[in-house]
């Protein structure tokens, strides 16, 4: 049994490494485009409301704690605690997605959603802010236009992350079903352990997304 658990953990980590490389690729693309369209990225990033992102970071950290406690409960074979902590984890995951939905809705209202030929993208507010900062109307139009590439990255990265959250919630539902059949105890709790690994990984991705998308451009410094 110990060898099976070891093999499963190894396999899960190999999968997570491929996930690291996938998200890593998007992060590298983000870094390179930020260097290329620096002013557009600063203008786009500073237009986002930090508060929601900050709350969401705390929500995910809390869900990671409850997940870790769920794994611990599974290891000790306490069915009631496993259920409670998995339900807490799912609830916090849902709170995260709802807040993300509120943020997406704000972007839609502000016309910050890149849409190509559908012409959904029209960041009038960013344009006005740039003029207030003392940019010429011509430069402001140019930079406001560049923010579209920032918002492409914003939606691609947070969207990919949200997709992982949804997959995580499906995994949790499946775990909850198996917990209620009393399948896990000190001898066998590998699925809970591996589900936990996945959940923590998604948390780690957000730990990087929050500063990179919301925070690093706030002081308008040079690169």
């Amino acid at each position: 049994m110990a060898q099976q658990k070891e093999a499963s953990t190894f396999g899960m980590w190999v999968f997570l490494v491929t996930e690291i490389m996938m998200f890593g690729g998007v992060f590298v693309a983000y870094m390179i485009y930020r260097l290329k369209y620096y002013e557009g990225f600063v203008a786009g990033s500073t237009s986002i409301d930090v508060t929601w992102g900050f709350i969401n970071t705390l929500v995910l950290i809390c869900s990671s704690l409850t997940m870790a406690l769920a794994v611990s409960a599974a290891q000790r074979g306490v069915v009631r605690l496993q259920k409670i902590f998995i339900i807490f984890t799912m609830a916090l995951g849902l709170v995260f997605l709802v807040i993300k939905g509120i943020e997406y809705h704000q972007k839609w209202v502000e016309h910050h959603v890149p849409g190509g030929t559908w012409q959904t993208f029209d960041p009038q507010d960013i344009h006005q802010d740039l003029i207030k900062e003392g940019k010429t109307p011509q430069a402001a139009t140019e930079i406001a236009h560049q923010t579209e590439i920032f918002f492409c990255f914003y939606f691609a990265m947070t969207g990919l992350h949200a997709l992982h959250m949804i997959i995580g919630l499906i995994l949790m539902t499946w775990l909850l079903l198996r917990v209620s059949r009393r399948e896990f105890g000190p001898d066998y709790y590998t699925p809970v352990e591996l589900g936990g690994l996945y959940w923590h990984f998604v948390d780690i991705v957000w730990i990087y997304l929050f500063p990179l998308l919301y925070l690093i451009n706030r002081t308008h410094g040079k690169i």
């Binding site: 870094m31 900050f54 611990s72």
Partner: protein, 102 residues
């Protein structure tokens, strides 16, 4: 150290506390201008805090600190490969145009 052992709940709560402190810190410090020698160090500090938080999650919540050497090596190799990808990509993009073609 026994393989497959898990940390105590006290460790979980301490790590949780450290993560919350790190989140508040990264949020507050983002609005402080950290420009020295004409270079803004805000992104570096933000990534440094994020890496610290990620390391805590990996070591304690994901039990790597208590896992076998094979698991540790897999995780380390993954992040090492990520570093290779980032550094080689930046070597390319940051030096484009710096060398004149023959």
């Amino acid at each position: 150290m026994t393989e497959g052992a898990h940390p105590t709940h006290k460790v979980y709560y301490l790590v949780f506390l450290a993560l919350v402190i790190g989140t508040v810190l990264t949020w507050r410090i983002a609005f402080v201008d950290l420009t020295f020698f004409g270079i803004s160090f805000n992104p570096e500090v933000a990534v440094l805090i994020a890496c610290t938080k990620a390391t805590l999650v990996i070591l304690f919540f994901m039990h790597v600190r208590y896992s076998s050497k094979l698991t540790m090596l897999t995780v380390a190799a993954g992040f090492f490969w990520l570093l290779i990808m980032i550094s080689l990509d930046l070597c390319d993009y940051l030096t484009r145009g710096a060398v004149k073609p023959l």
